[in-house]
Amino acid sequence: MDQKTDSEIVARILEGDVQAYAQLVDAYKSPIYNLAFRMTASLSDAEDLTQDIFIRAYQKLYQFNRGKKYFTWLYTIGINLIRNHLKKKSKDALTHTMDHFSTESQRTGKENREGDLLSEDSIKRLDENMQKLPVDMREAIILKYYQDMTFEEVAAVTSDSVSAVKMRVYRGLEKLKALMDK
């Protein structure tokens, strides 16, 4: 969905057409759900967080600057809620959720773009090691590579400078690589 369409939908909602919000939820539920899932490694947490993020965004819709991109604003709300969630939540049950993810992704996930070249095991190890990264590095890598954002977009979402994001992604990859090579 482009920026103009998002902005028009927001205008309609603010004028009282509450049901129009469903279009925004439909458009962004998948990336937001995936963001929450990659950050928390828990499907149930991702579900709850996705709902919380959209509800919070709705509540704050009056604060949205229609000259800016809606998805960047939504992601910023999402990242803040996820950070708060991760602070509160203890880091137990990682293995359980990761195993759960493997099964779940086979059942519901889209096809592996690299086909048979990448083993399921390497993806599973990657997911486990991602959870060992500090939150700021993890979110930078997820936004950049899982969500396919530009460095500028990641910077806008995380309220960091572009150079800080580049450094964080680089350090994150460095650390992740070390963990994968163990």
Binding site: A22, D26, Q59, N65, L117, M180
Partner: protein
């Protein structure tokens, strides 16, 4: 450091090949079923009266956090000079004027305002994103104080044309406050964390 991170190409390939999780089919309905009332707080009210810029965080020409903080210090310094000069010379100008409680307090208010702006400048400089928020609200408080103070002064001054002085005082204080806020808007606040 290469922006494309070529040395981690294998790792990036694995990351990008990871399967996407699919959200539950009914999640839109669940969200729609829980939508609360929108929060029409102070921010939306300000936006409605055309003061939305106060909370925007974008600008084409950004300035550094240090420069923005410097603006606060220099404005604070301005008030400090006014405060020191008026503390020193007010009685010499008019003993009668300095005995009026509210008027007599003005030099100290000026010094207090200076200290307040110094604190905001310092918070802005050292405290990242939360400092930006604190500086915004702090500046709002400053504007409110300047305007309220001018109204109080008006009630004590029974001099012809005092209203012009009072309006000038309030307008200049508020103008400086708005300029400080616009400096925050122009600040590259993303470097703040």
């Amino acid at each position: 450091m290469n922006d494309n991170h070529n040395e981690y190409e294998d790792l990036i390939t694995i990351i990008q090949a990871a399967p996407q999780a699919t959200p539950p089919a009914d999640i839109t309905q669940r969200v729609m079923g829980q939508l609360p009332e929108q929060k029409r707080g102070l921010i939306s009210l300000l936006k409605k009266v055309g003061l939305g810029f106060y909370f925007n965080e974008n600008s084409d020409t950004s300035i550094s956090r240090a420069v923005c903080s410097f603006y606060y210090f220099i404005t604070g310094f301005f008030y400090l000079i006014i405060g020191i000069v008026s503390v020193t010379y007010m009685k010499q100008i008019s003993i009668e004027l300095s005995t009026i409680n509210w008027i007599g307090l003005q030099p100290y208010f000026a010094i207090g305002t200076a200290l307040w702006l110094f604190v905001l400048g310092l918070v802005l400089k050292i405290n990242g994103r939360s400092g930006v928020t604190a500086a915004r609200y702090g500046t709002m408080l400053y504007i409110f104080f300047v305007v309220a103070n001018s109204i109080f002064i008006r009630s004590y001054l029974h001099i012809p044309y005092a209203i012009i002085f009072v309006i000038g005082l309030a307008a200049s204080g508020a103008f400086m406050g708005i300029m400080l806020v616009q400096a925050i808007q122009k600040m590259d606040w993303k470097e703040a964390i």
